[in-house]
Structure formats: C-alpha cells, structure tokens
Chain length 150, copies 2
Amino acid sequence: MGKEEKTFIEFLRRTGQKVTRARCLVLEEVYRHHDHFDAEALYQRLEKRRAGVSRATVYRTLSLLDRSGLVRKMDLGEARSLYEHVLGHPHHDHLICVSCGRIFEFEHPGIEEIQNQICAQHGFEMHSHTQQIFGRCRDCRAGRSPAETS
Amino acid sequence: MGKEEKTFIEFLRRTGQKVTRARCLVLEEVYRHHDHFDAEALYQRLEKRRAGVSRATVYRTLSLLDRSGLVRKMDLGEARSLYEHVLGHPHHDHLICVSCGRIFEFEHPGIEEIQNQICAQHGFEMHSHTQQIFGRCRDCRAGRSPAETS
DNA sequence: TCGTATATTGCGACTCCCTGTCAATTTGAA
DNA sequence: TTCAAATTGACAGGGAGTCGCAATATACGA
Ligand SMILES: [Mn+2]
Ligand SMILES: [Mn+2]
Ligand SMILES: [Zn+2]
Ligand SMILES: [Zn+2]
C-alpha cells in the first residue's frame, strides 16, 4: 500500500468517514498519472478501466482528496478546475501558455519569503496561495508546435 | 469625458466596433464605484438606475472592457468572476479571507522582479499574472466581526 | 460472524453562470 | 438621409458541478 493510500485512509478514519471501494479506485486512478487533470478526464479514465464509479462520486472523492491534502484543486480561469498531486510534489506555481495551453511549473523560495512578509504586515494567517503567470511559451514564441518538441 | 470613456471609445474605434448607449451606460456604472464586483451585482445596479441594459449586454461589455484593458477579470475559484478597475489602480495582487470573504490588496516590486527572472529562465513571454493568498484576516483571527472595523 | 446504525453510492434532476441565437433596433459612414 | 453592418434584449441552451433520494455498502460492537 502506497503512502497516499495510507494518508487517505488515515484522513477518512480521523474524520469519521468510510473507506469504500469507489474512493480507493478513484485514489488509485489519481495516482496512476502525474500530470494536471480535470474531473471529467479522470472519470473517463475510470470508465475505460470499467471501475464502475459514477461521475458524482469522482467529484465527491476529489473534494475529499483536496481536503485531505493529497491533491490540490486549481482554478486557472477555465471552465473546468484542474487537480494535481501534492504528495511527493513539492509546492510550486504555474506558467500557463495561452497559445498551446501547456502548463509549466516553477518554484522560487524568494516568493514564499515575500508572501510571508506581506502576511505579517497585514496580520494575515496564510492558508494557501497560488500564483499563475500567463503568456507564451518558448516553443510557441519560436513558431514551433509543441508536438515537435520531444 | 473621463479618461476611461476616452480609452474605451478609442478601443472600440480601433477594433471596428460601435459606441453604443448600452456600452456607455455599463462603463459609467463600472466607474461609479471602486471595489471588486461581479457581473450580476453590476447588472442589479444598472437595473436600480433603470438603465435598461440587459444582462447579456452587461456580460458582453465586461468582456470588452477586459479586452480593452480597462478592467481586469479575476477568478478566485468562486462561482462568479470578479472584476476590478485597471485604469488608475496600479497592478496589485490579493489576500482573500476565507472566513469573512473580504479581499485585501498588496503589491511588492520584489515579486514582479522574480517573476521576470522566472520567465527569462523559461523563455516565457509574460502577458499577465495573478497571485492570491488565501487565509484569515486580522479581524477574523481576533474574533472580531468585520462590521466592527470600519 | 452477524446485525444494525450510519455513511455512501449512482442516478438523474437541478442549479448556477454564463453564452449562443435571432429578429428587431441602432449606429455611423457615405 | 440611406443603408449595410453591428448590436441589442429576450430567452433558450450549454456545461461544470451539486443535490436529493432510494438502494447499497461499511464498520462497529455483540
Ligand atoms: Mn503543477
Ligand atoms: Mn484588487
Ligand atoms: Zn505554448
Ligand atoms: Zn476575515
């Protein structure tokens, strides 16, 4: 049993919720890939594997995973929310190419430090933060299609 | 005629669109207040003034104002998008209190500088960026209700 | 292991924020 | 003033996500 299962089960127990077949299948599928995904795509992947988990349960379980700290829900201003792993993926923020849609990750300790300063100034207790930079990626600027890059 | 009207008309002309009664009324109402607002609230304000502008036109005009650079559309992960002025309001980012919902603004030159560095490293051409810090504000931490402040 | 209280599930209906359609109206260039 | 083209209001439609509920699964204690 992976660390994520352990964490999830511990979270469910701690909060008086049940460890169900559907929840385990969703968690398993979430951790089969390591990219940014949306709820519908995850549901489709489960369908393909004939997991027999409903769309509603996918949404409900993603919410649990978010609250348990296993995944992070991200809202990039698009219709659908995206999700990404937290466990084993250190905190980072995103560069989003408005041309090809790809998402690049970055992290910079200086930013976190400044954020702490700002919170201190405002007497603000930070729970989470997000930072997104929208623009054109190197490939798109070069007129290259993303497919040509390996 | 305020600077915002001038800018808007110039934008409309430049992009081959028409300066209409409805668009002017929406712009006027947008600039009557200087806080964060959503489309529905703006529509209600117009209704109260019997402006006779439809909800659809409010949405369509907000989109134009966003594209013209007069307002900024913000997605804070809530159902509704928020909008805020750009003209006369220097760039800033937001602290959002998850307890009372109030939004506080901050700006820090160091952050912008780091963002430029990161873009340079990735060969990324930045168009815009947003940064949100979620947490609890000073008042909420002190158990004070926001109404008591002022 | 079994029985039972309680949580969860799948289903589809539903909500909510917009967005698209289209006939009627307005705009502005000539 | 004329008139093609853009815009508008009304409302249907879309799409992501949520809710209610009867059927089912889970877990806890006997
Ligand atoms: Mn990421
Ligand atoms: Mn602001
Ligand atoms: Zn790109
Ligand atoms: Zn607060």
